[in-house]
Amino acid sequence: MNLVAYSSTNQSKIIMGKTLFEKIWDAHIVVEKKNNPSLIYIDRHLIHEVTSPQAFDGLRMNHRSVRRPDLTIATMDHNVPTTDRSLPILDQTSAIQIRTLEKNCKDFGIQLFDITSHDQGIVHVIGPQLGITLPGTTIVCGDSHTSTHGAFGTLSFGIGTSEVEHVLASQTLWLDKPKPFEIRVEGKRKNPHAVTAKDIILSIIKNIGTAGGTGTVIEYRGDGISDLSMEQRMTICNMSIEAGARAGLIAPDEKTFDYLRDRKYTPKNYESLVDYWKDHLKTDSDAKFEKIYTLHIDNIAPQVSWGTNPGMTCDVTESVPSPEDFSKGDHNQKKGAEKALEYMDLKPGILITEIKIDRVFIGSCTNARLEDLIEASKIIKGRKISPHVRAMVVPGSQMVKKQAEDLGIDKIFTDANFEWRESGCSMCLGMNPDILSPGERCASTSNRNFEGRQGTGGRTHLVSPVMAAAAAIEGHFVDVRKMDLN
């Protein structure tokens, strides 16, 4: 797969290696024109109820059809209630959006995992668990966390509704080629049950900033990445967008191939595909990255966000920074931090472990997979949540929910007074009734702590599932490394 280039000066032959991202990109070019965007083929198109209705309207208005319904998969996740599925949806606008997706899928022949399906769930959780996400493919969805699928060595990214319509009509997109960005994660975590993939990605965003990856596709590499399970790798790739990157990906290995084997929709010729992927889906040793950043994880601590973007994060052992310290001389960042502290009702110098919380949310496409729930349950087991805390678990999919229930994990949570709910995006973005009240403070395993994200006036602190579980028990943030596992 090496690209052979000729230098213009001496005509000597130079072999330039390619990054994994460049290989996937090149393998999907339909039309390429110099100094213009390329037309890129899309292998998998995932759709949901919130960002698709206007796209289908556009098709109808122009008398267009869906080019490849067989490459298109739909589910409803963003605004579905997480309460009893047999009851009608009370919010009429949500109900209309859900019915609209049902009608659109029926009219255009698209497979839909609806609210009653055992395979329903957050679109980025169900793709991999159904074997729809495959290495080397291009995957898009009208949702920025589509980067999650990059954990399987795919080129996956979020798109707007106009692009959803474009993919429905043509199965392609015009794209400017992003630059490859290498993030190396080196070393071994001392306590992998307490310091998690979430802490690795929050540390990266804290260091490179929320625009650190703009215009790039990140490839995560190094022993700190290959050590991770597939579900942990998804947590890492999921938050690539929080660093501003178009996508994030990880080269597939045996863990990847094992994870996707024997899933409901794993292709029949899977083993021959695996042979092909093993040969092709890796970055060449002489490939060049545009940017490189290295994180050493031997001594990293659990992370807690204190502000209103994911870059405003610190170690659990630290205190809330002053805007001066945070901004390192940048007056715009300083102003941003002042506004954030005011919104979060926090003063510089307060220890993170002194911050009391009202709510705990374990859920979202970042951290609501089976492993997340198992790890959090080890903290919860045999304990009760603090009496002034309301806590909920929203499994990432109905399949995750069922698997957890088969292991008795739901019982551990409900015994501790957690609410155990049906799957969906829920309080990650608060489009359904699961929202914070103004002024409420939440330890959340989700991905965004923007103002009002989980409810107008609500205050979000991003943490890992085990940190959220520990905070639920104690009623304030604690260093989960100091807690005994049950």
Partner: protein, 194 residues
């Protein structure tokens, strides 16, 4: 899509970095199934108090900027969620141009699908523009912003400029490549989903 015409207007300065799309349109307004009518939800939590009264201290509520068509903001504008509703809201409210030192990728791309012009300028120039109180003109054809005292050139990819100036239908253009797309599909190794 309408083609982009010259614009003459005052500037609305939004002196903030990392303005995310959750602020531009909060999630409770994403449940509509059409593209129109999002202007009233623009910057909702910043524009209105909890009784739905206009907040006097928010810049958009200042009478001076009522008919402004240009928003000039800080770094990393439009970060976060991919929601195109953010672009629809800015346009429906009346903005035709957004100027910032940098934009988030998905937002930037969404702008061109709807005829909204995002202009990237150096931070120093952006800050100077934010202090500009007179009428200014944005001329996309010649890639120039004219203020009372100077002409500021800006860069834009030729292909994207053409899309805005001609108001092109992206999909109709792409479907002219039917032959290339079909040929690609014939040789593709990727299996169907189900």
């Amino acid at each position: 899509m309408q083609s982009f015409k010259k614009i003459k207007t005052v500037i609305t300065p939004l002196d903030q970095v990392n303005v995310d799309t959750d602020q531009i349109v909060p999630k409770q307004f994403l449940k509509l199934v059409q593209k129109s009518g999002f202007g009233k939800f623009l910057f909702y939590d910043w524009r209105y108090d909890d009784q739905e009264n206009l907040k006097s201290d928010f810049i958009l509520n200042n009478e001076k900027y009522k008919n402004s068509k240009i928003l000039v903001a800080g770094d990393n504008f439009g970060c976060g969620s991919s929601r195109e509703h953010a672009v629809w809201a800015l346009q429906d409210y009346g903005f035709s141009v957004i100027v910032a030192p940098s934009f988030a990728d998905i937002f930037y791309s969404n702008c061109f699908k709807n005829g909204l012009l995002p202009i990237v300028l150096e931070e120093k120039i952006v800050e100077k523009l934010q202090r500009e109180t007179g009428m200014i003109e944005v001329d996309l054809e010649n890639q120039i912003i004219k203020t009372s005292s100077e002409e500021i050139p800006f860069d834009i990819d030729l292909h994207k400029k053409q899309i805005l100036l001609e108001g092109l239908d992206d999909i109709a253009q792409t479907l002219q490549y039917e032959k290339e797309i079909s040929e690609f599909e014939k040789q593709s190794k990727t299996p169907s989903v189900l």
